[in-house]
Symmetry: C2
Subunit: 213 residues, 2 copies
């Protein structure tokens, strides 16, 4: 917890110097925070962290020397109290969610406004999970972001999709619904076709990612 009137120590990790400079100009003018350091590599930041309290780090994912996902994990491991706010051009739902799972407190795309960035910084420091509006949109409706159409499923298809995702086999589903195994097979086939995938692993992945399950 920050003491009253103590400056927020903020670090920036991004492989593009112009991004760092822009962020410095924006954030450097705020009298409640101190841009304690800026880095173009993950390794340099990890060294910095050893001797410098960092309340929050604005972290890009694409770095020359490290995988941002692993770096995020490593930051949280070494300094659990440091908030990681991802600032990235990667807008894939999968990357967003994995970064959150690896300990990031928040995620914004680089096109977020200055106000949004500042707001997210404050929310993260307040202990909240924080997303920019565009990230919330991606999380809520990934298909809209990917310009894909979510397949329209019939009542029975939805039911069977859920049962498949619970790990039930075709014989088990047939038993539960009192239908022929061949009927279940046809529904599975139809599901694979509607989602344009070849097997159940890809089907379930897309269905969960598109918030159908």
């Amino acid at each position: 917890m920050l003491e009253n009137n103590e400056l927020i120590q903020l670090a920036i990790v991004d492989d593009h110097p112009v991004v760092i400079e822009g962020l410095q100009r924006l954030l450097g003018s705020k009298d409640y925070l101190n841009v304690a350091g800026t880095f173009t590599s993950g390794a340099d930041f990890l060294v910095f962290m050893k001797d410098n309290r960092t309340d929050i780090v604005l972290l890009d994912i694409s770095l020359p020397d490290t995988n941002g996902m692993e770096l995020c994990k490593e930051i949280k491991k070494r300094s659990p109290g440091t908030c990681v706010l991802v600032l990235s051009n990667h807008s894939e739902r999968s990357i967003i969610m994995q970064m959150l799972q690896n300990g990031a407190s928040g995620y914004l795309l680089k096109n977020a406004s200055a106000d949004e960035l500042l707001n997210c910084i404050h929310e993260a420091l307040a202990g909240q999970i924080t997303f920019s509006n565009e990230i919330k949109q991606i999380i809520a409706r990934p298909s809209a972001h990917e310009l894909k159409e979510v397949p329209q499923l019939t009542r029975r298809e939805k039911e069977i999709l859920h049962l498949i995702s619970d790990g039930m086999t075709t014989p088990q589903i047939a038993g539960k619904l009192n239908l022929s195994q061949l009927t279940i097979e046809t529904h599975r086939r139809n599901l694979l076709q509607k989602f344009d995938v070849n097997n159940v692993a890809a089907l379930i992945k897309v269905a969960v990612q598109q918030n159908l399950i």
Copy 2:
């Protein structure tokens, strides 16, 4: 878009009268919105909507006559301009995400504070996707909410999990990684054991839901 000084028309749909009453007390005192109607059934609300502009509806999921998921879809179908803000005791990630996919603009649990509710109402009306803090927490880190431990995966296991979720078969993965099919089979076996599931469908569902993919 609301005209300046025009009251926000808000409806409440919940099967518990005490919840409705509490919300009315809270919201009824706000001079910028009008509690246009309260309903304990989905059907009644749909009838109401026909003749009454509703800018935002606070919607429970468990209703006596309808499935809240389908009701949400139906509301958005009949009146796309109406914001649906889910107010529910259901905290399962799966339900949250399905409601969002069905068109809800936001989601809060019933234990959210008055301030959070009001804030979410404003964000939803501003065209944003909005979550209470607890919902963001659940979305970001479902395992923490479910008091489950996310399995620790080795580097190879992660790689193979991703490839499986992309729909690749064991022979295909073996070819891609230059490993024996039997090696891939062992990794798959280990993944199933770590996640305590019986097949790949359940494996991928849990992995995506826990934000590992």
